[in-house]
Symmetry: none
Subunit: 407 residues, 2 copies
């Protein structure tokens, strides 16, 4: 079964609004195993809309349109789709009563143009809209279907879930099951190179997505049940783990800081962090995990040298001889935050995020990360490229990765 | 002049990512007065992509494609567009050297599949990519143009601004001049209501964009020169400032934390911050400003009560009688971070970000913000709705706004 989306609205073509409807519907179709090969955005223009509808219905089994169901003369999706399918529009008394009730409830006068929201192509199934005035509809014709939905996401999304999903499930009879593998410490092209034989498009499929400093792999199986899907996906994930090893940090789509949170919680360890160039980004990412108060004790953003000495006990000798950006300072920061906070694990970052402050020996992008935990002390030197935010983000991800690998 | 967009990527069709590129480019085209009647999203499939390219080139003067320029075998935009236009792909040595340098700098091995990112349709103009490995290109053919851009927004947006805008300006004969007015402390509908007569679509145009907790207004003039543009835009911005007053915090598109940085620098004041529920987000935002070491001394993420007492000297009596989330604790945190850091200004946040930890008297979303500067001490109680990240973000923005208004 194939499906196409048509997003209707000049405000989309002008960039006034972001097309979140397309993503919302695409995700649901993918989950259902319905193939969606093409999506189109057109303005409130009857000729171009009718051409888009005709072409889409020629290619796909189901065409989903969002937008253009409102009361204004710009709203002409129903009129255009009806014309393309040779159907007459007829008034639906129940829908008209629903619209009248909504206006009465809001204490607003119902202007005559609102009546057209209660007119539908003959023989269609009307989809109720509990969150707005314009109902949607499903029109079947020659074995194909056109599904018309309102444009505002707060009306479209509940209507899609309540009325469109059951229709599509019944029509398609298949299911999609997928899991997300997350990788840190290996680039997209290198991951693809090592897994190229697994990406041959058979069932299950393996698709790579590059994030800032990370790679995601979506492993997706077409199946009749979740159980069958997991049976298809599990050996592929096992093979990915076997080939890539420790760079795989989650096969359930978790973020790196969420994985760290789970490890700390599971091992009943507490954490405190000391940051210089990342300036609170590491702490903020850790604290974004709900319930972080159970394992996160505190963070020190020791930006000035004086703060490194006063808060963490970094020795002024070290700061003078090795410099604030050095392995020794990172180590003393990790030890210091651990000792002063009483946490089990101390994690520290110091570096030069730029754009200024670099020297030939210590260029912008030079970062030291250190960890102190139990008997173990670790420090690593890294060199990043890119702008200030990219360097700070890379430093955080590497610190989280060091923490993860310490368990 | 007409333009069409083609967004390439199976990850868009699967709903894995939101198509922000289409909105970004649409806004720029609308500002330039370039008509965009149709936008298409296709997957990484050569036949369907080639058909989409052929159709778009038959209708529009310029076709802009985003995505599919990467190193993997899925990435086939250049190959497909070249085939549709009957052009050969040739290796560009400069681009190859750039890609090699990026890999060397990252200390990563360059796998052989990366070479294809340096291959381009013969005779095209290559668009440099300072933020990634895949350059873009402009291919002219029979009076039409195809513009190929990378998919990741952090690479596409700067390339569009640096290389595509000048090309489109030259081709369309118009220039654009715009300034961004930024507002904190007033909702989008209220801003629109007060400025509705300025938003009538004449030159210059005024377009509102709602952000999380903020409003942006873009004032854009079509003009022949920057000087003429500024002459058109300046009186409109003056009128906006007159009507909205102190909620306008920048008319040059600066972020709230950037405005705070300028104020601190201008007044030669230093800052230190203490955070509980925001967990380093405030410090991180301040430190994101290049050169922040000149005015930012340090931050304490005093998440546990013990850290509030030990690091900042918040009295255990206050913590016991008023609680960690109280105006008195916020005030003692602001005083404490100021005193212990030696900064001129101390800024503090404490609150309940949820989802757990709320009570009937102190619900999730309750936040206290305090500032200590010179003789002035301020504390404010706020109640936010929404999820954990939204509450934390609102708390940061309000703290920054308090800091800005204290000057």
């Amino acid at each position: 079964m194939t499906c196409e989306l048509i997003s209707v609205g000049t405000e989309l073509l002008l960039g006034n609004i972001l097309n979140t409807n397309a993503q919302y519907i695409s995700q649901k179709l993918a989950d259902l195993g319905v193939n969606c090969y093409l999506q189109t955005t057109v303005g409130d223009n009857p000729d171009r809309l009718e051409e888009a509808v005709r072409r889409a219905l020629a290619r796909a089994d189901v065409v989903i349109l969002t937008g253009g169901l409102g009361p204004t003369c710009d709203d002409l999706t129903k009129e255009t789709v009806s014309a393309a399918l040779g159907k007459k529009l007829v008034l639906d008394e129940d829908s008209l009563a629903h619209i009248r009730r909504r206006f009465a409830k809001m204490g607003r006068e119902m202007t005559p143009n609102n009546v057209k929201q209660a007119e539908f192509p003959e023989g269609c199934a009307i989809l109720p809209n509990p969150h707005g005035t314009a109902p949607g509809c499903i029109i079947e014709h020659d074995g194909k279907a056109a599904i018309l939905l309102p444009g505002p996401p707060n009306e479209m999304e509940p209507m899609f879930d309540a009325s469109v999903m059951p229709y599509l499930e019944k029509r398609s009879g298949t299911k999609l099951y997928s899991r997300m593998v997350r990788i840190f410490g290996k680039g997209e092209s290198s991951v693809e190179y090592e897994l190229r034989d697994l990406m041959d498009g058979t069932n299950p499929t393996v698709a790579p997505y590059a994030l800032l400093g990370e790679v995601k792999l979506r492993v997706t199986a077409r199946c009749r049940s979740e159980r069958e899907g997991e049976k298809l996906v599990a050996p592929v994930i096992a093979e990915i783990r076997r080939r890539l090893g420790a760079v795989v940090y989650s096969d359930e789509g978790r973020e790196l800081h969420e994985v760290c949170a789970e490890l700390l919680l599971g091992h009943k360890k507490t954490l405190a962090v000391a940051e210089s160039c990342t300036g609170g980004m590491l702490a903020s990412r850790l604290v974004s995990v709900p319930g972080s108060s159970r394992w996160f004790l505190e963070g020190c953003v020791t930006y000035a040298n004086d703060a490194k000495a006063r808060r963490l006990g970094v020795s002024t000798d070290t700061l003078a001889s090795c410099g604030a950006v050095s392995g020794q300072t990172a180590l003393e920061m990790a030890r210091g935050i651990r000792r002063t906070s009483g946490a089990d694990v101390g994690l520290a970052i110091t570096g030069i995020a730029g754009p200024d402050g670099g020297t030939p020996e210590k260029p912008v992008g030079l970062v030291y990360i250190a960890l102190a935990s139990g008997e173990v002390e670790q420090v690593t030197e890294l060199r990043f490229t890119g702008g200030r935010e990219r360097i700070r983000n890379s430093a955080c991800l590497n610190a989280l990765d060091m923490l993860r690998r310490s368990f």
